[in-house]
Symmetry: C2
Subunit: 470 residues, 2 copies
């Protein structure tokens, strides 16, 4: 037995499959080990199962016991803006005005290395306090922000995806980067960071509206030269933005067609939002293996609209789906709050599809797929997000060989009403069944927040622990 | 100088008028006293103003200093269900199924006095931890729950409105109450509680769908016999419910017409939700002085829909408007979270009214009225709520003679990202101007939660203080 082995004991909950495959029987996609043992070596899961069984195989391994917690795979935030850490919850504008008034001035500050370093410390502290162990992030058009992002991620040992964020129109000159500079700097940053440690690189055209033909063509070239890099961008967040995309790309019949035209849509392509995607566009995402990142905190905060969750999860054309905070359009860092708002968006869709408002829009199956129970919700935050980002070989659950990123949730923490609410499900001894575990987890996503994140472990080590109250 | 005088020093923010009267200049409706002094005697405000000025007049009064806080009038929750304290965040159903599956079984437990007493302790603890000092509450059809509600409110010294909650159809027999029993018990409870101490009584037909003609007629009679009582009910929360109301009252051309038919619509009438009200119905609420309670947490959680905030605040037909958590349809007790969701609903409406989705629905003025800045938001939670409930002679701001209910907000508390976010507005010395105060308060409503409630004072005494972290 290697001296580097260590173990965590507790109640584990994870997903092994897509719960949307099992309507009404979502527990079939889940695994619950009420008294489990996770064996870790060099940041990876080397054994996992019931305590009784696994402890026999690893009798000398030091054990950290986390009673009164539900241990889940670390949360994955598929769409977040590092340089918007400080401007979350900015008042009063829809997407395009909000960008001009609040976001661009703040993002320009990240060309200053000292500021970017301070921000990176805040950013990763905020993520870990929310239970996020992996994110796919936008930076700015200044390489400094990308460098400091990866530097801080490396200090935390976190698996992240990010990339220099290209925009060359509809913004002040000093905020833009030329396609030539973007190409050169992206090449340099890929060489420095991609697949170094836990870093992954995303070629990142900010959004088609903000990118000229030349910028998009450069992205095509970069993807051809670096096919194993991710592509990270935005799509169809806001109706005015959709119209602007149509105006800027008159030869493309819809927004998705722009990314198709430049050969970007496909595996490891993620577009945030997709609120206003047509049925045809959802189908092309599904068929090509491209992913959408659903950002309900932001979609509500900026008034962008209600993402059609039940459409994206149609089994005939199931889209790879992650969730994202979209900080600073989103107003909270923790995926727990993202799931709360995702639930609400789904329930609003459910009403609009049940025929009570408009009989000809009745679709019982799509209405049902909009209901986000805990299995579906935490799938999106863990394995589903990993699947969307083509990281499900490395992340997303407690399967042996995966990386040891996880969160320990305190299901009783949060607002004052939480403990009595959760006492309906089980006593302080904790859940005995997968249904009880899921009921507690629904309580966390419905009524909880970052206070429910008791501990966050990254690469097999405790990276965050919540301060107790006196 | 009476020995019973005492004082609170700090930064005070309140509203003196309706900020919707001053589009773009909402600060005109607000008052900010960066270093103020509030003099309290026997639970009432006897003097208020700048510390320099007021302390001269009251030099011997003991002072509690609350530095680093913004002191606001206590929050008013206009629509909350006491017997749903434990079932907040219940999974998976729209209004009517949610009532049948989750709410009715839980509410029936409140016929047991011991359970109702335990619940009342939780309920008022939860309210105070969220900054609520006054609520208008539903109870159940068992008088026990109303009695225990008022008993616990009296122990806390809180001004509340509540009443036996009548329903006599569309529910199990043991959950219903006959119109005769409802009349008799309501009369008895009014005699016992109405205007005793800080109690006020609301004649409470649960909702027209759940009330027969006989029950509604009894409410007409009760209101005639007790014209100074409130009326508290629901309206147009969910489209299926609206259709059911039309089916049950075929002689009424819309839902509001039911309450008109029975002579209830008018001053001191409050209906929760109003999501699906027509323009004509909004107009009749405005004309009669009836109030709507906007419950966005619940409207999103149950998927009920997006309340038309900008329509309700039309200056041509301004409706009296409160906000409510609608626990347990709502998923958080604090009005801070209610305002967050109210902001989001307003922004979604803003997008739908800006012409970008449907040009013929373009209405720039209504779109603008949907934007909930801090002045508008905290008006709804304080003076606006008091105005809606006809309590603005007693509550809602720091005017001399009003009751001394207030909250001390810590604008830096909450999620990990909060402090750096708020540092954009001002340093730790706190706000110097009304705009800075409002910017911090917008940060609280956009990114905060009950953690921002540092202290809650009721009737001139500290009733809640947040536990510090180590």
């Amino acid at each position: 037995m290697s001296a580097s082995f260590h173990a965590v004991r507790g109640s584990f909950f994870d997903l092994l499959d897509d719960p949307w495959k099992y309507p009404g029987r979502e527990a079939l996609a889940a695994r619950f080990v009420p008294d489990g043992l996770l064996i870790i070596a060099e940041g990876k899961i080397v054994d996992f199962g019931s305590f009784t069984e696994v402890s026999n195989r690893h009798s000398q391994v030091p054990v950290t016991h986390l009673p009164g917690r539900l241990i889940l795979p670390g949360f994955i935030d598929g769409h977040i803006h590092f340089p918007q850490t400080r401007v979350l919850g900015a008042y009063g504008h829809q997407l395009l005005d909000w960008l001009q008034n609040w976001i661009i001035p703040e993002e320009m500050r990240y060309a200053d290395r000292t500021y970017a370093q301070e921000a990176a410390r805040h950013f990763f502290d905020d993520l870990l306090a929310g239970g996020v162990t992996t994110c796919q992030a936008f930076t700015t058009s200044s390489p400094v922000s990308t460098e400091e992002f990866f530097a801080e991620a490396a200090r935390r040992g976190m698996r992240t995806i990010a990339g220099l964020t290209g925009i060359d129109r509809h913004a002040p000159a000093e905020y833009c980067i030329s396609p030539q500079d973007f190409y050169r700097e992206t090449k340099r940053l890929i060489a420095t960071y991609h697949k170094q440690g836990r870093h992954l690189y995303a070629i990142t055209p900010r959004f088609a509206v903000g990118c000229t033909h030349e910028m998009m063509a450069v992205c095509t070239q970069l993807k051809r030269e670096h096919p194993d890099c991710h592509i990270n961008t935005h799509i169809s967040e806001n109706p005015t933005e959709v119209r602007l995309a149509q105006a800027e790309y008159p030869d493309c019949h819809d927004y998705t067609a722009v990314y198709e035209k430049y050969g970007l849509l496909g595996p490891r392509f993620t577009a945030g939002h997709g609120v206003w995607l047509s049925n045809s566009e959802f189908r092309r995402f599904a068929q090509t293996g491209a992913a959408i990142c659903f950002c309900p905190l932001s979609n509500l905060f900026l008034g962008s609209g209600l993402f059609r969750l039940g459409r994206a999860t149609d089994p005939e054309q199931r889209v790879r789906l992650a969730i994202g905070s979209d900080i600073g359009g989103g107003n909270a860092f923790t995926p727990i709050r993202v799931l709360e708002e995702a639930y609400k968006v789904g329930m609003c869709n459910n009403t609009m599809l049940d025929g009570s408002v408009n009989a000809c829009e009745h679709d019982a199956a799509e209405a049902e797929r909009n209901k986000l129970n805990a299995y579906r919700g935490f799938y999106l935050a863990t394995l589903g997000g990993a699947h969307a980002l083509y990281l499900d070989d490395k992340l997303g659950n407690f399967s042996i060989g995966k990386e040891a990123d996880f969160v320990a949730l305190d299901w009783l923490a949060g607002q004052h009403a939480m403990a009595w609410r959760q006492s309906q499900v089980c006593g302080p001894e904790g859940p005995a069944t997968v249904d009880q575990a899921a009921s507690l987890l629904f309580g966390v996503m419905a009524c909880g927040d970052d206070r429910n994140v008791a501990e966050t472990w990254v690469n097999g080590r405790r990276a965050y622990q919540k301060l107790p109250t006196i």
